[in-house]
Amino acid sequence: MKSATVRSSAAAAAAVPKAHVDVRPIMLLVALMVLGLLLVGSPSTWLTLTVAGLAMGFIIFIIASGLTLIFGLMDVLNFGHGVFIALGAFVATSVLGGMAGWTTSPSVLLNLLAVFSAMVVAMVVAGGVGWAFERVIVRPVYGLHLKQILITMGGMIVGEELIKVIWGPLQIPLPPPEALRGSFFIGDAAIEKFRLLAVAVGLLVFLVMMWVLSRTKVGLLVRAGVQDREMVEALGYRVRRLFVGVFVTGSALAGLGGVLWGLYQQSVTPQIGAQVNVLIFIVIIIGGLGSTGGCFIGALLVGVLANYTGFLAPKVALFSNIALMVAILLWRPQGLYPVTSR
């Protein structure tokens, strides 16, 4: 047995038909963009709207990706996720306010350093609060969905009130630093600089997350735990410990998303989390509960559609994401990329 060698796995796989990759959800996104181009008419306006939609989608993905894994891994319905978004946004107001010298400097480097500092501090604070939230609020109600909904919503209300105690109840402006204000122009299309930053950060988070999930043992455990938590434990892994890590990471990502969302809106209110909560729940349902890939496509669909409808039919914009969710669930009741065991 010891002297035997394993034949090349690639050679072994060569004899096997390729696994089918479901590209229809991606084609749906492409089709939506093409439809948007036809309805908007002007390519430059379409490009502006599309970049804005993708930026919005990437920010929503950053926020929602943690939530979908939290649900997938431990069946925890965390309606309090929004509080980490608000926390991240308010921490950003303090950090960027304290670094006014850097944010108003004409130096692009100092501007970016200020924004990245705000992101890092927001992630650390949101992650730390997330750790406490899991221990105090979520842990006592594992497996009890109704109580999870009630207590996590209660947690969010308490969190919002604490934010008001610290930062006050009023809206606080959160302007992007000098270098991120204004737009680039591609022909007649105006591309806001900050939105490009949001796309870049969102893409980076997505790539890092996909790398971790597909190339590391921890990622493998998360993906397996989402499918069959019990079997992962039977293989000798402590899923609860893994879940705490995912919860803290998800909270930190929500904090990061809060910074980007606050800069996107250029102001923050204590209710910002509750407002975004609706969107992120739509996204994780569209994507398939527990599915990171589905969450990514779902977030981009929601972002792009919201921008197209906001331009074409503002009265329909509020309703459009609900309509998208209904249409997708009629097509795929388990979401775009359902997790197999669910």
């Binding site: 047995m1 394993v6 796989a13 499918q227 019990e230 992962v232 000798g236 197999t340």
Partner: protein
């Protein structure tokens, strides 16, 4: 020497009282087969040993230590592998990723014990062929092979296997029997739940028969196989040995 001992084990699942004082001894280095009709408590016994359902009363001792209050991962880390009835494979993961998860000591596929892996490939050649294929796309028999192979990925002291032949074609069952016989030849301790009496007879050294949540008979498989009256009384079998039919077909 007994590797696993259950004494007076009771298990409740919600309002249901499933095990009513199970006493069972699993000798080291042998295959013990747990027989009984559907609903007798066989699967519950395995899940209780694994900690997936907590024993409400009684003791479960593994290698001399009580494990009935231990969390599932701690029980697994003591060297107990579990092959569930539903196979428990991760459908969205490849065969390679499923195996990597089963090898706790390996962080990457190239850290898997190559010699051991080759031995597993020799037992189940399909797994090598479909190494990078999503496990959910495998046939039922291949999934069962993967499920058993995962339990063999690292040395284990005890393997709990729940109805490996269920729903499989006879030719696939034969492959599985061959693989388990090879394990048996290496003196691996196995506690096997099996409805297919032909397979049970081929593999078992010892037998325990369950009924209504209790062990009602223990002995050697050879003694049970030779006693048609005992089979009839315990299992409701009628010439099951010669026909190779399962208990379900006769009960």
């Amino acid at each position: 020497m007994n590797l696993l001992t259950l004494a007076g084990v009771h298990t409740h699942i919600g309002a249901y009282h499933i095990l009513h004082g199970v006493d069972l001894e699993v000798p080291e280095g042998a295959v013990t087969v747990l027989l009984g009709r559907n609903g007798a408590g066989k699967t519950t016994t395995l899940r209780t040993v694994m900690g997936l359902w907590a024993a409400s009363k009684g003791t479960v001792r593994f290698a001399g230590e009580a494990i009935e209050r231990q969390p599932v991962p701690e029980i697994a880390r003591r060297g107990i592998a579990y092959v569930p009835e539903n196979m428990g494979i991760f459908s969205d993961l490849t065969v390679q990723e499923n195996m990597l998860l089963a090898a706790r000591g390996a962080r990457h596929a190239d850290q898997l014990d190559r010699a051991r892996l080759q031995w597993i490939f020799d037992l189940f050649p399909a797994l090598q062929k479909f190494w990078l294929y999503p496990a959910g796309k495998l046939s039922g028999g291949q999934k069962q092979m993967l499920s058993v192979a995962r339990a063999l990925c690292e040395p284990r002291r005890l393997i709990l296997i729940d109805e490996p032949s269920k729903g499989l074609a006879p030719s696939i069952v034969n492959n599985l029997v061959q693989a388990l016989r090879e394990l048996k030849a290496q003196r691996t301790t196995i506690l096997l739940v099996e409805q297919n009496f032909r397979m049970a007879r081929l593999l078992g050294d010892h037998v325990a028969v369950m009924d209504h949540g209790r062990v009602v008979h223990t002995g050697t498989m050879a003694a049970l196989a030779a006693d048609a009256e005992l089979q009839q009384r315990l299992l409701g079998l009628s010439m099951g040995l010669s026909t190779g039919l399962s208990m379900n077909a006769h009960a």
